[in-house]
């Protein structure tokens, strides 16, 4: 079974995000970039499937600027077999990404597409679902446990009320949540091997997709600064503050 794993290059989760002064987005110049942490979990899951003998080949795909090759290389060092880089702007919208992935899926014929549930930069949480819809495939989202069966898989999903286990037929799109696994870090020998693994480069046009913008960003602002709390001396003072300062009672 071939597995496709889309991986996104995002601002590293450790970086303190700064909003650009013109409010068009967040600062990415001279900022450490890494693989989206949820995508790391997806890569790890794919590698485990391969180690278990279920997956035969893992293809890592990234759609974004040239430097996204680094993200693919990280996936290769974790255990993916080869990469596909679609060179595009950094801010392609989820629908266009899903369409490009569809074109790649049709070309590559994977039985499973393993995605992070969302990217930590825009938190869209759409790509996996859109891809499944475009393909007419079943989808299993927010997976915290996956068990492969013959021609299908049991997926435990983290939902508000607890855990839900569903069975989906393959081929399918699976998006992974935080608790599915703990991604390995690339060992030195695998880093060296990754150097020799192939990465194909293509453009959105090669896939027949025009990544036109459908959404307009009005502005991006920093979250409001939190005010420090205060201690009150008595219940009377608390009630007074709630009534007159916070005006909640």
């Amino acid at each position: 079974m071939k597995v496709l794993v889309p991986v996104k290059r995002v601002v590293d989760y450790n970086v303190k995000i700064r909003v650009k002064p013109d409010q068009t987005g967040v600062e990415t110049a001279n900022v450490k970039m890494s693989m989206n942490p949820f995508d790391e979990i997806a890569v790890e899951q794919a590698v485990r499937l391969k180690e278990a003998g279920t997956a035969t080949e893992i293809v890592a795909v990234s759609i974004g600027p040239t430097q996204s090759q680094e993200t693919i290389r990280t996936a290769l060092a974790m255990g993916a077999d080869r990469g596909i880089l679609v060179e595009a702007d950094a801010d392609v919208e989820p629908l266009a990404i899903a369409k490009m992935l569809k074109a790649i899926v049709e070309k590559e014929g994977p039985e499973l597409v393993l995605l992070g549930k969302q990217a930590i930069d825009d938190d869209s949480n759409q790509t996996g679902q859109m891809l499944a819809a475009l393909m007419g495939w079943p989808q299993a989202t927010f997976a915290s446990k996956v068990e492969m069966k013959d021609g299908s898989m049991d997926v435990t999903r983290e939902v508000d009320g607890g855990l839900e286990t569903i069975n989906v037929k393959l081929p399918a799109a699976l998006t992974v949540d935080l608790r599915l696994n703990e991604p390995r870090y690339a060992s030195l020998p695998n880093i060296m091997k990754a150097k020799k693994k192939p990465i194909d480069t293509m453009s959105p046009a090669d896939l027949g997709v025009e990544p036109a913008k459908r959404l307009e960003v009005l502005k991006v602002v920093e979250p409001e600064k939190r005010q420090g709390g205060a201690k009150v001396e008595s219940v009377a003072e608390l009630v007074d503050k709630l009534k007159n300062e916070a005006k909640v009672i």
């Binding site: 290389r73 870090y185 690339a186 060992s187 030195l188 880093i191 060296m192």
Partner: protein
């Protein structure tokens, strides 16, 4: 000219950083407080680092090592250097000189060191022979097919963990235009051999948990098959293989510079005095600027020297400048980091007092700052007849 790191370099740094943060940092307080590295902890670190391929990463791939080039090795050492020395040196970088092993020596010493089954240590320094290393009095006299070794070595790092010592001893004297000079031979001597005693060394200010030892040789008889390289040419063997050791000291120092600077930056924006972040005071922010500049300058020297080493073009002066700049940058940065933190900087709750203590030895071992300056100035002046 291209100063950028390759994708492999970047990934090596990421793996090494994560290893250091997850596998070494959590044990720093324990090692610093107890001045001991528990054998079980050492085994755990060794196992994990072997799994990740970080162990013996300096050794060539065809010998079973990581096969890292010099730049990659400096990056790895830089990351490992962020953590306490006892912890980070458990991720062994066996002495490159072991590559001079021949025949049975390879099976007995080289390969076990690469596999993590044996640990080496290196003995050059003596109480009476520090910077003037050729004046060593430890001697090996031929007796039939054996050598009989007598003498004392001191400041021998991690001789407690080691299974054998790479020993340098005088095997005679030769006349040179500048007067008589000792001939030196390198030997592989197993711990536990009759006449070879390892004694506890000195308590000292730097590198808790990573100890130095005194080695005593009293009519210690070793067969000539234990000679590493060629008899009387021990210094040539050392020069062939130990050139990058100074870069290792430099790279380890850089790691600590980075950690101290990061800690200082965090503190400068968190700490408030007189109603504002202390980073708003130039007394603090200018220190940070100087720390960054000194660190970056040293890092460029180290990386350039490493790159030259890889090309086979590194000169003594390159390694000397790299080691001098990095270790002196560390002294400056560790001291300024503490000044920025005020009293808190001296408390063992932060890694700064440790980095400050550890910094002191770096300007002394692997050639003092003065020896490095001598090497640099000699390289400049000798061609001019100076």
């Amino acid at each position: 000219m291209d100063f950028s790191l390759s994708e492999e370099h970047r990934m090596i740094v990421e793996t090494a950083r994560r290893f250091v943060e997850e596998e070494l940092y959590p044990y720093e307080a324990e090692v610093e407080e107890s001045d001991t590295l528990r054998p079980e902890l050492a085994a755990q670190i060794r196992e994990k680092s072997i799994e990740l391929g970080l162990y013996a990463a300096n050794m060539p791939e065809e010998l079973g090592g990581g096969g890292l080039d010099t730049v990659s090795m400096c990056l790895l050492d830089r990351e490992l250097g962020r953590a306490n020395m006892a912890l980070n040196y458990t991720v062994a970088r066996p002495s490159n000189i072991l590559q001079a092993c021949e025949g049975e020596q390879r099976e007995k010493y080289l390969f076990p060191c690469i596999r993590g089954e044996k640990v080496d240590c290196l003995a050059m320094t003596e109480p009476g022979a520090g910077s003037d290393v050729r004046s060593m009095s430890c001697k090996a006299e031929r007796d039939g097919d054996d050598f009989v070794i007598n003498g004392v070595k001191h400041f021998i790092s991690h001789a407690d963990w080691a299974d054998f010592v790479i020993l340098f001893a005088a095997t005679g004297e030769e006349e040179t235009p500048r007067g008589p000079r000792k001939k030196i031979t390198s030997f592989l001597v197993d711990k536990g051999w009759p006449g070879f005693t390892v004694r506890q060394g000195y308590k000292n200010v730097s590198h808790r948990g990573y100890h130095n030892f005194i080695l005593e040789f009293d009519d210690c008889r070793v067969p000539s098959s234990q000679v590493l390289g060629v008899v009387d040419q021990g210094f040539d063997v050392a020069n062939d293989w130990l050139g990058a050791t100074r870069l290792q000291v430099a790279a380890l120092s850089l790691g600590r510079c980075h950690r101290a600077l990061e800690q200082s930056l965090d503190w400068a924006v968190e700490r408030k005095q007189f109603g504002q972040q202390i980073s708003k005071f130039q007394g603090v922010s200018f220190k940070l600027a100087d720390m960054k500049m000194r660190l970056h300058a040293a890092e460029l020297l180290v990386m350039e020297a490493a790159w030259k080493h890889e090309q086979g073009a590194m000169e003594d002066m390159d390694a000397a400048m790299a080691k001098l700049a990095a270790t002196e940058a560390l002294a400056f940065i560790a001291d300024e980091a503490i000044q920025i933190h005020g009293g808190m900087g001296l408390m063992s709750d932060l890694p700064l007092e440790r980095i400050w203590r550890d910094a002191r030895v770096e300007r002394i071992w692997e050639g003092t700052s003065e020896i490095q300056r001598h090497i640099i100035s000699r390289s400049l002046l000798r061609p001019l007849g100076g």
